[in-house]
């Protein structure tokens, strides 16, 4: 009751803020970058396999250059996905969240392993498994924040499903 009273006071007469900072001001977390990373891994796997199908294993400079770029991007985005999930896991997820969603530790570990496997291979199923695991993580993340989600076809060059918040 007191909190509502003070909220009303705050709306009319601005109450000064006092910071309980962490390593940086807290509060801005979103699994979106992790999803973009996972979708990019799928896209790079598609491009690599298409290039091989088109050129065989020919070692032209153009082929090698394209392949190097695809692989580097796949490496980078698999690692980006792992990094983003680690930050949310380390800085946002608290003990009560793990109690409420006991599958979280296993899911995070699964994402770490799939991220590594996606770097090692050009297996589309692995890339899709990574994306699905990140989608499941995103659904839990938004449930914790009490924000509804929906699955939509990604509006990119890969159109796999991605979880987005309904804002």
């Amino acid at each position: 009751m007191f909190h509502k009273v003070f909220q009303q006071i705050d709306q009319h007469a601005h109450i000064d803020v006092v910071d309980a900072h962490c390593d940086i001001p807290c509060g801005i977390y979103d699994p979106h970058h992790a999803l973009i990373g996972a979708l990019t891994v799928v896209r790079m796997v598609d491009l690599i396999n298409a290039k091989v199908k088109e050129h065989g294993s020919g070692s032209t400079a153009e082929f090698i250059n394209s392949m190097a770029r695809y692989i580097a991007t796949k490496e980078e985005h698999a690692e980006l996905t792992k990094h983003e999930i680690r930050v949310i896991w380390g800085d946002f997820i608290k003990a009560p969240h793990v109690e409420a969603y006991p599958q979280l530790p296993g899911l995070v570990h699964k994402i770490m392993q799939l991220g590594s496997k996606a770097r090692q291979t050009v297996d589309r199923e692995t890339a899709l498994d990574l994306l699905e695991a990140v989608n499941e993580f995103a659904e839990i993340f938004w449930q914790i924040k009490e924000i509804e989600t929906k699955r939509v076809k990604a509006p990119y060059s890969v159109t796999e499903e991605m979880v987005i918040p309904v804002l």
């Binding site: 910071d19 309980a20 900072h21 390593d23 807290c26 509060g27 380390g90 009560p96």
Partner: protein
């Protein structure tokens, strides 16, 4: 002097949450002597006005080792002890948001 303040950030979670309000009493007052466990409001250069819990009162009696509850909290482990001169108040009433 009393100040009403709103908490931003989660470094004192689960004791304090983002959106909580606190009433801080200005110091020094004998009744508001600062001791370990108290939550204080202070100005920290480069950080602004912060709220943290007093972990220890150092031997000189004029500086405080302050801590958050989170491993990643920015506190005396980062910026050193807080001199009494920068302390603007001690929390005497906590209005929770939940």
């Amino acid at each position: 002097m009393l100040r009403l303040l709103k908490v931003r950030g989660e470094s004192l979670w689960p004791d304090f949450h983002e959106g909580d309000y606190v009433l801080a009493a200005g110091v020094p007052f004998p009744a508001h002597r600062i001791k370990p466990g108290d939550v204080i409001v202070f100005r920290q250069p480069g950080y602004g006005t912060l709220i943290k819990r007093v972990h220890r009162v150092l031997q000189d009696g004029r500086t405080y080792d302050v801590r958050g509850t989170q491993v990643v909290s920015s506190d005396s482990r980062d910026f050193g002890p807080v001199p009494k001169t920068r302390v603007s108040g001690k929390v005497i009433w906590h209005i929770r948001s939940d």
